[in-house]
Amino acid sequence: MNQFIQSLVDAISGGAILGLAALSIGLVFGVIRLANFAQGEIITAAAYTLIFTWQLGWFISIPLSIVVAVALSLLMEFTVFSRMRTATPATLLIASFGLSFLLQRVYEMLFTNTVQTAPVGSALAQSIDVGGVRIQMLSVVTIILAGSLLYGLTLFLAKSSLGLQLQAAAADFQTARLIGISASRVIGLSFALSGVLAAAVAFVSTVQTGAVGPSFGVPIVILALVGAVIGGIDKLSGALAGGFLVGFATSMLASWLPQDFSNFRDAYVFGLVILVLLFRPSGLLIRGRGVART
């Protein structure tokens, strides 16, 4: 029973982190129909920042990693994607693949192929006792962090003028511009918010592993994309729920499958995804299919 609660909490935290990652992709997708594979390299950049600056203190290292993630996200938009406004979603996705590989090679040249390590957030690497059940501190922190970010994002989107403008642009880009919403401003905003979420994902993942290599963000972004597709990437709630589901499932499979099988857990997840794509190609949670940006 105790072990079940432990793995349940871990799975919720695993779901929360992939939910955030999928949301960070969905935010940008909603506005410019870009499923950004290079989101993984934004996560990696934030993770490297944490590793290299952790000795300066968390109160410097964490804000710095957020700044780096937001800056890289905006840089991608200004240098690459803003030049591709009339491209189809498929072309954008392929461009983001290219960007992802390019950045991985850059990280390799800068920081070598071996992983860099630092005791990032080592204070969180302990268990706490909750009513006789040992629970990982990091899982609890992850759940609280994801919950607060979600709450803040929801509040921002629903209550602020900029948040409403972002929602309007995601729902109907052409009409949004016709009523005076600045395209470049909402697009920039979506990339910036997406960067903040990527930094949060990077923090939790770096604490978990303590080691960062050039392809650190790749498995995260693959699973997040899978989740976003399952949930329906053109709706924020869909992307979030899909990401959560995938994170939850991979974590549960990891704790409950025999060790030999654990190694293949991603194969199981992909198996599930293929089933979903075969039987519910428009995602599990949405009713209609979104239209492509013209």
């Binding site: 309007a168 009523i179 395209a183």
Partner: protein
């Protein structure tokens, strides 16, 4: 020398899609306090004319908003010169509340004062929107959604308001509500340009109505032509 008269002037407006012309040299003018109709069969280029004015599609020719040439400006900047479009098919944000749709209309507003008054004005014009302000816009009836689309455009306090087929798909009473409101808007001194398929209705309502055919204005009608069957037949089939 730009003239500083309030209103819209369009000269030799041309719009084409991948080299195929849709609007082929339209001239028109709408002054403050005036309603101008633009009618014509499906595919005549009515929507393209409005989108061309807004800068939402590639175009040539001159468009002056309150005397200022808006050549090359993107729609979000054209709006800030004082013109608002109520698009064909309404295009309200159906997942957002009525109130949030109206707040979004404020984005294109030039002055940041008078916002409470702006809400009060649209709620007087369309009381149903006040009653349903917390409701998801997608849950409104077609007529109510059209009222919301017009109200959203009024939140920007435009001098010129362009409407693309506001009566499309509405019941007769809903059409009456919409046109009564447009009459108030015209009398309040705004310049109103109405694109419609309903010829008789539009001709009777407007101070002047242009007939568009294959991207060209082929006829100009006055309110007294509304019941003239020959003129209408000529307009649509001539």
């Amino acid at each position: 020398m730009p003239t500083h008269e309030i209103g819209l002037q369009v000269e030799n407006l041309c719009v084409s899609y991948q080299g195929v012309p849709a609007v082929r040299g339209v001239d028109l003018e709408v002054k403050a306090g005036e309603a101008i109709g633009l009618i014509g069969p499906n595919g005549a280029g009515k929507s393209s004319t409005l989108l061309g004015i807004m800068g939402a599609t590639a175009r040539t020719g001159t468009v002056r908003i309150n005397g200022i040439d808006v050549a090359g400006l993107p729609p979000e900047k054209v709006v800030r010169q004082g013109v608002a479009l109520v698009p064909e098919g309404r295009h309200i944000f159906s997942e957002l509340s009525v109130l949030n749709n109206l707040k979004l209309g404020l984005v294109g507003r030039r002055e940041k004062t008078g916002i409470p008054e702006a809400f009060a004005e649209v709620f007087t014009l369309f009381p149903i929107l006040e009653e349903f302000q917390g409701r998801k816009a997608g849950l409104l009836s077609g007529g109510q959604q059209q009222q919301l689309a017009i109200a959203r455009s009024l939140m920007a306090n435009p001098d010129i308001i362009l409407l693309d087929e506001p009566s499309l798909g509405l019941s007769p009473t809903a059409v009456d509500t919409v046109f009564e409101a447009l009459d108030v808007v015209r009398k309040a001194g705004k310049a109103v340009l109405i694109v419609e398929q309903r010829a008789e209705f539009t001709i009777a309502f407007s101070d002047k109505t242009f007939v568009l055919h294959d991207g060209l204005i082929t006829l100009t009608l006055g309110p007294s032509d509304a019941n003239n069957v020959d003129v209408l037949t000529e307009a649509y089939f001539g």
